[in-house]
């Protein structure tokens, strides 16, 4: 798969909650090639913007329309500038980068929290609702716009919230053990590291294959700078090029 650089116009900037936004970019070549789980590396072009690119998992693509969407949360200077972009602004997009999810699942459960749900959204659209359910973990009900986003692509959407304001009270681990008895042959998870670690451990106990999508501070995204390496079971791994998606059995550092 060829990596490409595209100057991408902003086509949509949609608030999903107070701090989470959906950004649609015109990047036809990358949109045509990108697979669920792969990411794009974005550079701000506005003066005063950050020097380094930031990685974002692709949340949706429209191949015919030549667009891709990311879903981001405001966490620092880079994402604060992202919120100021409007139609007529452009960013530089590098992609598609990394290894995506294995798509061979027959019955999949997607387990995610926060913006980790973004790449799972693209995955659910590709797998289709007949074989896909999602387990959404959130802090409180205001984050649960995710249910609406997933609805067209999944059979069931299970929900947990830390405060019990929606779905089951607790983390995803409050319901995961029960769900793993329902015949899923594959679990895909993306979100905070402690969540992924717990999910992977539970899958190992039940002997269900699990893929995790890792994240680490990176610079180039191309496997050159070695900012995002980690120790795997067999070898050193670069999250940007060997991942971000790994089989959970390969991962030793969370």
């Amino acid at each position: 798969m060829t990596k490409m650089l595209e100057k991408a116009p902003v086509l949509l900037q949609q608030p999903l909650d107070e701090k989470t936004f959906r950004l649609r970019l015109g990047a036809a070549q990358i949109a045509r090639q990108v697979q669920p789980g792969q990411f794009v590396h974005i550079k701000l072009l506005a003066p005063g913007g950050s020097l380094l690119r930031h990685p974002f998992g692709v949340a949706a693509v429209d191949v015919d329309g030549g667009t891709l969407d990311i879903i981001y949360r405001v966490t620092g200077p880079f994402t604060r500038v992202l919120t100021t972009l409007a139609v007529t602004n452009e960013v530089s997009v590098l992609g598609p980068l990394g290894q995506g999810f294995d798509l061979s699942a027959q019955r999949a459960l997607l387990v995610g929290g926060g913006t980790g749900l973004a790449p799972l959204l693209f995955l659910s659209a590709r797998l289709g609702s007949s074989k896909t359910d999602v387990l959404i973990g959130g802090k409180t009900e205001t984050e649960l716009f995710w249910q609406d986003l997933f609805r067209p692509f999944v059979g069931h959407a299970f929900v947990t919230t830390d405060d019990g304001s929606c779905g089951t009270r607790g983390t995803v681990m409050a319901v995961l053990p029960g769900l793993l008895l329902k015949g899923y042959d594959r679990i895909y998870t993306c979100g905070p590291s402690p969540m992924m670690k717990a999910v992977a451990h539970e899958c190992m106990l039940r002997r269900i294959a699990c893929q995790v999508s890792l994240e680490k501070y990176m610079a180039c995204g191309l496997g050159a700078c070695l900012s995002c390496t980690c120790q795997g079971r067999e070898k050193r791994m670069k999250i940007c090029t060997d991942g971000p998606v790994f089989w959970s059995s390969e991962v030793t550092e969370w």
Binding site: K43, L52, C220, C225, C228
Partner: protein
């Protein structure tokens, strides 16, 4: 095709352009092949190689800072045996000179790495005596002129390739280090490596980088690099590869005017991976626009007496 205006002969290297990919920012070149036609690059200086594989530092390894970044990778690399067996053959399929950046934890290890890499397919060796991110080796060898000279001599004695010494800016007198490397037989100098720096997370009360300190690079360090190239150029008879925050063609020209025969692009590769391609085109355009008959004419123009201020050119003219 690259214009012959950009041809650069230096330290026994015949380069199509004076633009080099700086070590540690371009992987082994192959990682960038989709975005930069490698045959248009002057040379690829590969990630620092040691005798045995190294895992590098723990924790966060990079962080952005104003107009730059700090890194503390810690010279992670697969070791020179793996490089020779698995990476160099792939890199050789591209028509681009390969500079092997090397480091060791002892003078003996520098010598051993130089010997291991004295093979076809490697065009030159760049000695890293200036990495701020490994406790032993690296910077320890680059801040004392006598120790630096010992490393250079050991490497020279163990390779047939041109030897480039990469200098640290973390010294009081860069000229003293440059002269020590020259006297020890270095065929060229690279300057500068990164500046030692630190960033603290005020929420956690801790340094951000796992290694606590890291090397500052990017546009923020460019004026320091230009100053050091300008100083050193007036005191050595060997050519200089200037580097430090180069991202635009104006920066390339500035570095050359300060006395650099070649210019390496580092951090910009990380945030704009096609930088070398863009700069090649723009440097060509610059030569045409400014009616420069050959890019090497730019070298040293900003020095007090132009090229005449550079012993490197005086020596050449005598020969």
């Amino acid at each position: 095709m690259v214009s012959s205006l950009l041809k650069t002969d230096m330290a026994g290297l015949h380069l199509k352009t004076p633009l080099i990919a700086a070590s540690g920012t371009f992987g082994f070149g192959i990682e960038f092949a989709d975005l930069v036609p490698l045959e248009q690059v002057g040379a690829v200086c590969v990630k620092g190689l040691s005798l045995t594989p190294s895992c590098g530092n723990c924790g966060q390894r990079v962080v952005e800072t104003p107009s730059g970044m700090l890194n503390a990778i810690g010279l992670e690399n697969p070791g020179c045996a793996y490089f020779l067996e698995h990476i160099l053959p792939k890199l050789q399929t591209f028509d681009v000179p390969v500079i092997a950046n090397i480091y060791g934890h002892s003078i003996e290890e520098y010598a051993a790495v130089a010997q291991a890499l004295d093979v076809n397919g490697v065009s030159a060796v760049e000695i890293n005596i200036s990495c701020p991110n490994v406790k032993q080796g690296g910077l320890a060898f680059g801040t004392d002129p006598q120790t630096a000279a010992k490393v250079v001599k050991a490497v020279k004695a163990n390779t047939h390739k041109p030897v480039i010494t990469k200098l640290s800016p973390n010294v009081t007198d860069i000229v003293a280090l440059a002269q020590a490397a020259e006297e020890a037989g270095s065929d060229a100098l690279s300057l500068i490596n990164t500046l030692l720096g630190m960033k603290i997370d005020i929420r956690t009360h801790r340094p951000v980088l796992g290694n606590m300190v890291g090397g500052l690079s990017g546009p923020a360090v460019r004026p320091v690099a230009v100053r050091m190239v300008y100083q050193v150029a007036q005191h050595v008879r060997i050519p200089l590869i200037g580097m430090g925050g180069v991202e635009r063609v104006e920066d390339v020209v500035e570095m050359m005017m300060a006395g650099a025969s070649a210019v390496a692009v580092g951090t910009a590769n990380l945030y704009q991976p096609d930088t070398l391609l863009t700069l090649t085109r723009e440097l060509q355009d610059y030569c045409v626009r400014e009616k420069v008959s050959c890019v090497q004419d730019v070298v040293g123009q900003a020095l007090p007496q132009g090229k005449q201020s550079m012993p490197y050119f005086q020596k050449k003219e005598k020969v």
